[in-house]
Symmetry: C2
Subunit: 318 residues, 2 copies
């Protein structure tokens, strides 16, 4: 396919687009995610794609890839069950690919799940390039994952990679899905914040909420978590310790099951806490590994928060 | 490949061989596993192969497959780290394939890990035939597993499938590997027996050891477990309940990660406790499944304790 492929990562707060000529990122764009529904989102995606294309300079638009949270039917180009996306919350699939294609003059559009495409991007062009068997763990509001096995994405019946809902502690903390003791209940930023509020209401002190307020943010963001830890906030440190422990338990079990070559850790919190966090997770895994002399390589993402957009472009190109 | 392929499953107490013409099992043989070392084992494997071939009637021997516990290098045809096999315990690989080939007049011999080949056999010719994404769980003295993904075995770096060493309870029961809280510590017959002895020594009553003695067995076999449960032995019932719980936890995590079509449960204990046991494990998984409306099919093996020999023949044939 000649020309430039644009990848668009549609998140709950921002839309990110990158323009990919044959190799490397040539231009990018960032647009706030509109909350007015399907039409507004289509327009914003098209705007992001056009801006990224223009930033890349010359070259026609060959194809567009979109990564988005929710249940994606790649063949049909539809999205459903995307709880934080106004207009896409329900189980009825919305034909987003067709709509974006029409808004961009009929260019081919391909869709994938946001975490799946981010892992694909890191595998094809980023940190995962040297490996054939790879797990991508995206630690953000929730904890998602994507598998590359034998060099190809493994999606199972379509819902593979729900790493966040692996059990790490029977009858443990409440997860976003309503069950208990899942990895996401310990390592997802949403549940970590909920736990911090609960402990604060019981009299424990923390600067987490004051820092978030100062930045004018309604939520405790990844950078707030980082700052709180760096300032020695004991409650934040303890909750990140718990996240490290839970990731160590779950990833060691995955490693014992799949004997992978590498694990890439990304997502908002993963990217922000970076290599020191990865090293602690690796340390927490070690005593649980069956083949302890051959642990998987633990890698940060190459594209940070652009992994999703890069992967969406790769999806469209392949 | 024309002619008959023989598959040999080498276990700690018995060697089982089957002769496979183009389709189905045509003859089988069972030989006790000799404990005198490598040469005696080679002779016993050759004897088993010849007897199975003879039982199949006419037809020349085209190839032999061997399944055996331990670290198997399929390309090199070697075995190492097989703790219950005299002569094969050490990390130094033993070239068993070449030796068996010589003992059988130069016929091609291919080797695989015992659980891997059993799962392969069930996938190609047995319970797993209709599926592309499948986990085989072998519940015996230990708990092993094998994965078929996209229709092909997934071995990762060579040690994939160590399902028994997935963590189900932090700081839980002692596992055979020396770590704590693994699936095998709850669902492996070896650790179940150790736990029963420990509870008996603390004054709990059980008929498990009396039943084993009556049958002249040094160990509590799978059939003894079944009889104890059927007779209402409360300690045996509780330990099997724990095994069901642990399998439910681990298999639900695997399902959430891989979104499989089916799980086949085999192994000595799995085969003996059969469908009622499988149904209880399925029930224990259900509340933990992320996509709960689409659980994997839970299947007993088609070949029971011949799965390994059938799969070894398949390995040699492919």
């Amino acid at each position: 396919m000649s020309g430039i492929t644009v990848g668009v990562d549609v998140g709950g707060t921002k839309i990110q687009a990158v323009a990919l000529p044959d190799e490397g990122v040539a231009g990018s764009a960032r647009v706030p995610t509109p909350l007015e529904g399907v039409e507004a989102l289509v327009a914003a995606i098209a705007e992001g794609a056009r801006t990224a294309l223009a930033a890349a300079g010359s070259g026609g638009l060959a194809a567009v890839g979109i990564g988005m949270p929710g249940t994606i039917d790649t063949a049909a180009g539809t999205v459903a069950n995307s709880p934080n996306m106004p207009g896409f919350e329900r189980a009825t699939p919305v034909a987003l690919a067709r709509m974006v294609s029409e808004a961009l003059g009929g260019v081919p559009v391909k869709m994938g799940n946001d975490v799946d495409v981010a892992v694909l991007g890191e595998h094809r062009l980023g940190a995962g390039r040297p490996y054939r068997d790879l797990l991508g763990v995206w630690v953000g509001t929730g904890v998602g994952g994507g598998l590359i096995l034998g060099g190809q994405p493994h999606r199972g019946g379509g819902a593979a990679g729900e790493l966040g809902h692996m059990l790490v502690k029977p009858e443990g903390r409440l997860c976003s899905c309503g069950r208990r003791g899942h990895l996401e209940a310990y390592a997802g930023r949403g549940q970590m914040e909920a736990r911090a509020r609960q402990l604060e209401s019981k009299g424990r002190r923390t600067i987490l909420f004051r820092l978030a307020e100062k930045r004018g943010k309604p939520r405790v963001s990844s950078s707030v978590w980082l700052e709180a830890i760096e300032r020695g906030d004991r409650l934040a440190i303890r909750l990140v310790d718990d996240a490290v422990w839970a990731l160590g338990v779950a990833l060691a079990s995955v490693q014992n099951l799949l004997d992978l070559e590498a694990i890439v850790i990304g997502g908002g919190l993963g990217d922000r806490l970076g290599v020191p966090f990865l090293e602690r997770v690796a340390e927490a895994m070690r005593p649980q590994l069956f083949v302890s002399e051959r642990p998987p390589a633990m890698l940060p993402t190459a594209f940070r928060d652009l992994s999703g957009a890069v992967g969406a472009a790769v999806l469209a190109r392949e």
